[in-house]
Amino acid sequence: MPPTIEASGLTRSFGRRVAVRALTFAVHRGECLALFGPNGAGKTTLLRVLAGLLRPTSGNARIDGVALPGGAAARSVVGLISHQSMLYSALTALENVEFTARMYGVLEPRDAALRALQRMRLQDRADSPVRSLSRGMQQRVSIARAIVHDPRVVLLDEPYTGLDEGGASALSDALRSLKASGASLVLVTHHLGEGLALASHTAIMRDGRFLTHEPRGDVELETYRETYREAVTR
């Protein structure tokens, strides 16, 4: 089966600054690539290219077989979660998620939105305006927004930021369930433990390049922490 996410020589520059350099990798159905690296390594830029928000400068990438930037066909299978909530603060949690459901053409959008909020354990705050929710709750609404259309590809940029223990556990459950249902994940995080818990592959990124890219295997957290430290200080 062809990979759901496939990149070959993928490069993205901003003027003379190269943010992502000739990356080649693949993520198959039900796999999770955990991406680690210091600030400014190019992780967020890579996610934005895969989400169709930025055009590759050279090389190519395919999402679900569609070359990027692939228009509606590629975007319809992607769910994007960032450390920014991407919500409208004046609307309620339910209205935000339902709006996204409608944008993706989800059948019975209100029911789907309610289910997504329930998955993030927020059903009792569905009618609260987003601005009245705590930062962690807003992040959970944002995650409900990103998974309301059952995406085949989920791109996560520091999704655990601001989450309390309950929120982090709801997110991990939702991601495991998405993975089990065949979704491919790319998870950008500074927290090695959270990344390793979900990862089937790991990569350490710096200056737009993969310093390491390998199957997760059964490496222990402390061992990987040492590998990470060595890689980024090399």
């Binding site: 901003f14 934005r48 989400a51 169709g52 928000l53 930025l54 055009r55 228009g71 509606a72 066909a73 975007r75 319809s76 992607v78 994007l80 960032s82 920014q84 909530s85 991407m86 919500l87 409208y88 603060s89 004046a90 609307l91 209205e95 709006f99 996204t100 409608r102 944008m103 993706y104 053409g105 989800v106 059948l107 789907a112 305006p129 927004r145 990103a146 259309h149 059952d150 085949r152 249902s181």
Partner: protein, 231 residues
Amino acid sequence: MSARIPPGTFAAAALIARKDLAIEFRTRSAFLAALVFALLAIVIFYFAWDATAVSAIDLAPGVLWVIFTFSGLLGLHRSFGVEEADRAIDALLASPIEREAVFLGKAFANLVFVLGVQALAIPAVALFYNLPLTRVLGPLIAIAVLAAIGLVSIGTLFSAMTANTRLSELLLPVLALPFFVPVVLPAAQSTARLLAGRPVSEAMSWLRILIAFDIVFVVACALAFPFTLED
């Protein structure tokens, strides 16, 4: 996984417009700011007016279009401001809808906003300057709607371009105002003729110019809009 068909351009535009209007209805921040500006400007113009030097019929069209132009800018600035606050624009652009739908949805919501301000400002100007509004109401509404279409097309495009810049409050008027001239000029001229009691046929040449610029601006802005969203 359920079968999904993303909405078409117009359906998506309607969803975006409805969402923007719901946000404005909840917050009312831009509408109230525009309305207060419009009423204040009417009062200031009124007290600065020397009725013995300039007749109300000569002054009113200018007052009306200055107010519409600047109050409209207040709403247009907010149009993409709500998208930038928590980067909601990223979620919108990552969704499987056409970029043109974003433009059309935003422009329609802005049109409702500008028409709402006009609906309250026109009677206020008529009241202060004792204008014969009932006699010209139909053609005046037509001019206001036509001009509003041109203004929101330009304003929506430049609002998107300037939203994530540091000086967006300054850049939007600096960029948009020169492009407003071909819309405001014929609108003010045709309004002046109508208020002076001239037949509608006399204002038609200006109205044709207004319609022509509306078509040019709507098409050009809709086509240019997707490029403003690229990094």
